[in-house]
């Protein structure tokens, strides 16, 4: 069940260039699953902003979001401090169906603001005994975040577009280079990256998480649809059926 809650911010910090982390406390923290998002209202903005759950602390009843300043809304969000509250709808959307999978070795492929949900996923996989390899792409050195945290969960590779840190190039360059072994891959990032990744992956089994401009964020307005690969005349809703889809389920871009 989704709820609208007024959530207190209990931690806030800048973790990379124009990239911020906020920790909220909520009674619903334990229900948030990897891949799900929360839908955040901001003063004087007609539409909410969807932001992925980047981590959950089930003991403290808190969860973390990580976001980058993109436009007006995320800029305003970056000014929120400990003690402020935000009006949030949660939990939203589908999650990586890891309970239903027999994963032994997972490959995580993330780009930019697609990295945050993958941290919570990687952490959960690791807790289940899965072997995790992570390949994370960023624009440049100052944009990199959570590298150490991923490293604690397994082998981690960083790529930057400008080569200012890690491998110069795209996550797909790293994939080709290190030829990782895995039975499932999990990817989140900008659509061009997801296209490149799913191309490279060919028939491998995987799950991807999509973004689209949203109206309601709960499934009523049909703003956020994505065509089905099996029948492009039909579609799924990213906010309700997604944001996580099987890699071969939907048509990208």
């Amino acid at each position: 069940m989704m709820e609208r809650q007024l959530l207190p911010i209990i931690k806030q910090s800048q973790i990379a260039y124009e990239t911020f982390e906020i920790v909220f406390r909520t009674s619903l923290a334990q229900q948030l699953k990897p891949g799900q998002f929360v839908h955040i209202a901001l003063p004087n903005h007609i539409l909410r902003r969807p932001i992925s759950v980047a981590n959950v602390n089930p003991i403290e009843n808190t969860f973390t979001i990580i976001f980058k300043i993109f436009g007006d809304g995320t800029k305003m969000l970056s000014t929120y401090q400990v003690g402020n509250t935000l009006d949030v709808i949660l939990p939203c959307g589908s999650h990586y169906p890891i309970e239903d999978l027999h994963v032994r070795k997972a490959l995580i492929v993330g780009g930019g603001v697609g990295v945050p949900p993958l941290y919570y996923l990687a952490k959960t996989l690791k807790e289940k005994g899965v072997d995790v390899t992570s390949i994370l792409g960023f624009q440049g050195k100052e944009h990199v975040f959570y590298e150490e945290k991923f490293q604690q969960l397994g082998d981690t590779h960083i790529a930057t577009n400008d080569g200012s840190y890690g491998v110069k190039g795209f996550v797909t360059d790293v994939i080709k280079q290190i030829e990782p072994e895995f039975d499932y891959y999990f990817s989140c990032g900008p659509t061009p990256m997801l296209q490149a990744v799913t191309n490279v992956m060919g028939d491998k089994q995987g799950f991807i998480s999509l973004e689209e401009r949203m109206g309601c964020g709960v499934g009523t307005c049909y703003a956020c649809i994505v065509p089905l690969k099996s029948n492009p005349e039909k579609s799924l809703k990213i906010c309700k059926d997604g944001p996580v889809f099987a890699a071969n389920e939907v048509v990208l871009g």
């Binding site: 007609i46 401009r213 109206g215 309601c216 009523t220 307005c221 049909y222 703003a223 956020c224």
Partner: protein, 304 residues
């Protein structure tokens, strides 16, 4: 304090209903509150066949408003009757079906299809959707077409018909008079204004369809003006909408002559908005000296 209001085919416990396209078919928002609280529910547009709608992005945010170009995506009238209406029948809340189409024949087909179900109590004839290439907006901006489609739908439908007017016209009173002459039992106004927003980085319209319909508080003054003008010209009930977010907004619509109101865009920001407005409305009416909804209707017209 009574909030009750009666209109052709509709016996409402209060005048507040979600607007078409902003509430789907009710399921999602039923997680947030009991849909029995609502005066009525206007469901998403129905066409003859299932429609895919427009490419994405389909929405954009504007100053105090939003643009949408969903393009009438819906599972088709049969799909709606079979898969969506049963869920709504568990509630005591009347359902208004939003009827759309590209041709008069399609409108007639859809309207007729709703004759076969007990799941809807009235039709809202959507002659004003600006987001479909063929049909849609032309019906709402062409007086003769608007009259014709109204007349033809009235001929076949066993339900009262509320014609939903487009604000994208030079003369809203003429349109209102026209469809009332053609048999409309009531009016629903306003639909969205056609707008556009440019993505500066991409140097093209944000919305894939280029133009979209502008809704939200930004358009409220236009809705209020149009209802004020139309109320003086026709004698059928009006479902007012456009930018409603609070119970005070509802009163503003009642004062210019709306008999009931619909809340659209505001649901997206606050999924509980209709429920909250309904709870607040008695206090607001009382504060401004009214003892019923009925009493407030049109009271903004009485002064010189």
């Amino acid at each position: 304090m009574t909030l009750r209001i009666s209109m052709p085919g509709l016996n409402l416990k209060n005048p507040v209903m979600p607007a078409s396209g902003c509430f789907g078919f009710g399921k999602e928002y039923s997680q947030f509150y009991d849909l029995n609280e609502l005066g009525a529910i206007i469901i998403k547009a129905a066409t003859k066949e299932p429609r895919y709608g427009n490419p994405t992005p389909r929405v954009a945010e504007t100053a105090s408003g939003m643009l949408n170009a969903i393009g009438l995506q819906n599972p088709g009238v049969q799909g709606i009757i079979e898969e969506e209406l049963p869920f709504l029948q568990q509630f005591s809340t009347p359902v208004i079906a939003n009827v759309a189409g590209s041709t008069i024949e399609e409108y007639v087909y859809v309207a007729k299809s709703f004759n076969e179900t007990n799941g809807v109590q009235a039709l809202e004839l959507n002659i004003s959707c600006p987001n479909v290439k063929e049909g849609g907006v032309q019906f709402g901006t062409d007086l003769q077409l608007a009259k014709e489609v109204t007349y033809k739908v009235k001929e076949v439908s066993r339900h009262p018909v509320y014609v939903k007017l487009s604000p994208n016209v030079t003369n809203i009173v003429e349109m209102a008079r026209g469809v009332v002459d053609a048999g409309a039992d009531g009016l629903s106004m306003i639909n969205t204004l056609t707008g556009m927003q440019i993505n500066l980085k991409m140097k093209r319209p944000i919305i894939a369809n280029k133009t979209g319909g502008l809704s939200g508080p930004a358009i409220k003054p236009i809705a209020i003006r149009m209802i004020y003008e139309v109320k003086q010209a026709v004698d059928v009930p009006i479902i007012g909408m456009g930018g409603i977010e609070t119970a005070e907004d509802v009163l503003e619509f009642l004062l210019v002559g709306a008999n009931a109101v619909a809340v659209g865009t505001a649901n997206f920001r606050n999924p509980l908005v209709c429920s909250e407005i309904i709870k607040e409305l008695p206090h607001v009416l009382e504060m401004y000296g009214f003892s019923s909804v009925e009493e407030a209707i049109g009271k903004g017209h009485t002064h010189g």
